[in-house]
């Protein structure tokens, strides 16, 4: 099939599976860390704003493959021999938290100030204003850019090849080394990446329609 054996195809599919796993790690970790970053970035406290801003600048100022190296070798120098998946997962977490934090900060600030004021005038507490009035509106605004960024996460997991993590790109590289059919192998890999990313966009549309009525 396609000039590749079923086993060879399955080899790529397995790589794609690990790409998905790493993407999920990056997104979940990025969300857990990115939410506090977004909150800190829009905080009233200057110290919080400065620390979170420094974090975002730092991560955004370093290429992802270098973050991968730093995490991987940093952990091993620190005496932690971790699997490449863990190192890549941590690196993806750092990377996506900085970008998601920045995206979500923008979404929180995109809700008009008059909404805060209206909630304040109804005697809601600060956290109640945020949870019941601002957050639902910010979430709706956040869906398209967040899903757009999910696609970035999936594609950028391919940098984990630099620390030898077995993802889709890595499996394609290995397969090419044994088949010498680079165009074919990487075209199949490209198709697999597309198959992962395209449904994400479809999902985005669904969420958006649903959120509209929540």
């Amino acid at each position: 099939m396609l000039g590749l054996t079923v086993d060879q195809l399955l080899f790529l599919v397995r790589g794609a599976g690990w790409t998905l796993v790493l993407s999920l790690l990056g997104f979940v970790g990025g969300t857990i860390l990115g939410l506090p970053v977004a909150l800190a970035r829009s905080s009233k406290l200057k110290a919080l704003r400065m620390i979170s801003s420094a974090y975002v600048q730092l991560i955004q100022g370093v290429p992802l493959p270098v973050i991968m190296f730093v995490v991987y070798f940093g952990l091993s120098i620190g005496g932690f021999e971790v699997p490449a998946l863990v190192a890549a997962g941590l690196a993806m977490t750092a990377y996506s938290s900085a970008y998601l934090g920045e995206i979500w900060k923008g979404c929180i600030q995109a809700v008009p100030k008059t909404q805060w004021e209206a909630a304040e005038c109804l005697a809601l507490t600060g956290p109640q204003r945020f949870v019941h009035v601002i957050l639902p509106q910010a979430l709706k605004i956040a869906v398209p850019p967040t899903v757009g960024f999910l696609v970035q996460i999936v594609k950028n997991t391919s940098y984990s090849v630099v620390i030898g993590f077995f993802d889709l790109t890595y499996s394609a590289k290995v397969l090419n080394n044994s088949t010498y059919k680079p165009f074919l192998v990487f075209s199949v890999a490209a198709a697999l990446y597309f198959v992962i990313c395209y449904p994400l966009s479809l999902l985005a549309g669904r969420f958006e329609r649903k959120l509209k009525r929540v």
């Binding site: 008059t114 909404q115 004021e117 209206a118 909630a119 304040e120 005038c121 109804l122 005697a123 809601l124 507490t125 109640q128 019941h132 009035v133 639902p136 509106q137 709706k140 929540v214």
Partner: protein
């Protein structure tokens, strides 16, 4: 009995600019006080001081028995007693009309779900929008949205209502329905301070009209004041604004 609101020589500045230059004004319980004046004369600022959205820099401001000038007021408690409605409605777009109205009673006053629903039905009937409970704000006209905003404030059972040019953003044919709601509230004895450019309405509803000019109470009186202005400033205002 103490007045609901008492301004005593209240000053308010934004940076170096003094916007309220010594306001003295009483709002007796059950009265309707209408603030009129040119844009920039400090009407909104005065109104926003009453519910603590702006803090005063000098003088004394008593609202519902609280001393707002000492900076120690529990603002959340104050805002359960003082409702405010703005020109731009500011409804919560992600919530239905009913949810808009019940959010604060449920979260702040811890009213139960069933009671909250009844409360919503009551205040929505008051503004004539019972059939819109399940609509979203975007599905309503401007006049309807503004009436929902009034209902949302009323649901907190306030002792005092503030209205800041609530019909200014509306098409002329929609102002009537909103003004009628306010008139009915006045008849029911609600204490109100309102800023408006509708002079006919002001004359009809006001117990006291206050003309503000350059951050000061320039002239005040009953409804007849607008017919016989004492100061050239009010004369000019009346001539251009009526």
């Amino acid at each position: 009995m103490d007045p609901m609101v008492r301004f005593q020589d209240v000053h308010k500045s934004f940076g170096a600019v003094e916007v309220l230059k010594g306001i003295t004004l009483d709002v007796p319980r059950g009265d309707v006080v209408v603030l009129v004046g040119r844009s920039g004369s400090g009407k909104s600022t005065a109104l926003r001081c009453i519910n603590g959205l702006e803090t005063v820099n000098g003088g004394e401001l008593h609202v519902c028995g609280e001393k707002l000038h000492d900076g120690k007021t529990d603002l959340r408690k104050l805002r359960q007693e003082v409702g405010i409605v703005f020109q731009s409605y500011n409804l919560f777009p992600h919530l239905t009309v009913e949810q808009n109205v019940t959010l604060a009673p449920r979260k702040v006053m811890k009213v139960g779900a069933k009671e909250a629903k009844e409360l919503a039905a009551h205040v929505l009937a008051q503004v004539g929008l019972s059939e819109k409970a399940q609509s979203y704000p975007e599905q309503l006209s401007g006049g309807q949205q503004q009436r929902v905003a009034i209902a949302r404030s009323l649901a907190m059972k306030p002792k005092l209502m503030l209205f800041d040019e609530v019909t200014s953003a509306l098409d002329p044919e929609l102002t009537g329905e909103v003004l009628r709601v306010i008139e009915r509230l006045a008849q029911d004895g609600m204490t109100m301070v309102l800023v408006t450019h509708e002079m006919g309405f002001a004359r009809g509803v006001a117990d006291q009209i206050v003309f503000m000019h350059h951050g000061k109470v320039w002239e005040r009186g009953g409804a007849e004041m607008l017919r016989a202005p004492q100061t050239p400033e009010l004369q000019q205002f009346v001539a251009t604004d009526l």
